[in-house]
């Protein structure tokens, strides 16, 4: 499932891309599986098809999907991503989240536990 919220401040395209990343990372859409057509997903979410197409294209650029004209989008068996860059991005995002947590009054232990809980929701997709 993918969820979007019209009241969320983020653009719809970002929300859809984030939802797809989440579903792929969590194992909701397995490797090599077909994704719904742009038309179907756009219709189901009530958004313009171009918004969904842009989100698909973005994930294809990130190496998570293969988009073939007329055949739809398929998740990659082995995502083609740069591990070093991914790690750097993750470190930056975590630092932002840790700072927000500390400023919000959470202890280091609370933050570590929250992180573990979030991680536990995802399957292992590490490369062999």
């Amino acid at each position: 499932m993918i969820r979007i919220d019209l009241n969320d401040g983020r653009p719809l395209e970002d929300q859809i891309a984030a939802g797809l990343r989440h579903a792929i990372a969590q194992g909701g859409v397995g490797p090599g599986k077909d994704l719904p057509s742009v038309r179907q997903l756009a219709g189901d979410l009530g958004v313009h098809w171009n918004t969904v197409a842009r989100a698909y294209r973005r994930l294809a650029d990130e190496g998570l999907l293969t988009v073939r004209r007329g055949r739809g989008a398929v998740t990659r068996d082995q995502p083609r991503t740069n591990v070093r860059m991914t790690r750097a991005t993750l470190r930056d995002r975590l630092a932002e989240s840790v700072a927000a947590g500390l400023l919000g009054g959470l202890s280091r232990k609370d933050i570590a536990e929250t992180f573990k809980e979030a991680l536990a929701n995802f399957g292992d997709r590490t490369r062999s």
Binding site: L6, L12, P36, Q40, N50
Partner: protein
């Protein structure tokens, strides 16, 4: 009153009543859908206007059909005008039904979820079933062309050809509808049974194909001079089925639920 005059009268009245019949079927379908989602749908006021226009048009059309010597070429004009006048009022009724049924079709919600599983028509109807209307139409039309190629002195080709052509139109219309139901928009809390709906559309499609091809073949070799009542009866059955088929296809956009479309960003 001869069979030909009766046929003329029946065809004129059917032409006049077509917009009312279509509007009644569309209203029925839209109301059933609104009820299924817990809403009501009142009969639009314009529907009464359409009924009045239909009755007022039926009178001169009926008189003309009964008095013109049958078969009269003027019946094209009588039927055409008899359809066009109530159709203007019918158009307004359809647009009123469309507007009134919008709350039953569009869900206004800021939080939206969607499945990431692709949907295809073959998930709801095996492809072995889906080829049946295509096969029937193809076989029926080939047989029709072969039969029509053999000359017959009393043959009137126009009406049977129209019915044969109607079968291909129904296949195209209803296959599009099946595709639309299978892959079209869905809201996450939608409980309606897609498989059941797709199969009902398929059965309607098959019935319409069989009816139109059946009528086409039945009237192809019929002598309209000696069997005018039978020919008129068959054409009326085919015509009524055709009107119902078109009305159902027209109502296809009034069922199903989707989230209110977000303007393009």
């Amino acid at each position: 009153m001869t069979g030909s005059v009766l046929a003329q009268l029946a065809s004129a009245l059917l032409s006049v009543a077509t917009p009312l019949l279509v509007a009644a079927i569309v209203l029925r379908v839209a109301r059933a859908h609104a009820t299924s989602v817990g809403l009501g749908l009142a009969t639009p006021r314009s529907f009464r206007g359409l009924t009045r226009v239909t009755l007022l048009t039926a009178l001169p059309a009926g008189v003309a059909a009964a008095t013109l010597p049958a078969p009269s070429p003027w019946m094209f004009l009588v039927g055409g005008l008899g359809f066009a006048i109530p159709a203007v009022a019918g158009w307004r009724v359809l647009s009123d039904i469309d507007r009134a049924s919008l709350p039953a079709r569009e869900l206004s919600s800021s939080s939206r979820t969607a499945s990431l599983t692709p949907r295809h028509a073959h998930h709801y109807l095996p492809w072995t079933w889906r080829v049946l209307p295509y096969g029937l139409t193809l076989g029926g039309i080939i047989a029709f062309v072969m039969r029509a190629a053999t000359p017959l002195p009393h043959r009137q080709l126009l009406v049977p050809a129209v019915f044969a052509f109607a079968s291909t139109m129904f296949v195209l219309l209803y296959e599009t509808w099946i595709q639309q139901v299978a892959t079209g928009p869905a809201v996450s809390d939608d409980t309606h049974d897609r498989t059941r709906l797709v199969r009902r559309i398929f059965f309607a499609e098959t019935a319409l194909v069989i009816t139109s091809l059946g009528v086409a073949h039945a009237v192809l070799d019929l002598n309209w001079t000696t069997n005018d009542a039978l020919a008129a009866g068959l054409c009326l059955v085919g015509g009524a089925a055709g009107i119902a088929g078109c009305a159902l296809a027209l109502a296809s956009g009034l069922i199903g639920r989707r989230y209110q479309p977000v303007p393009r960003t």
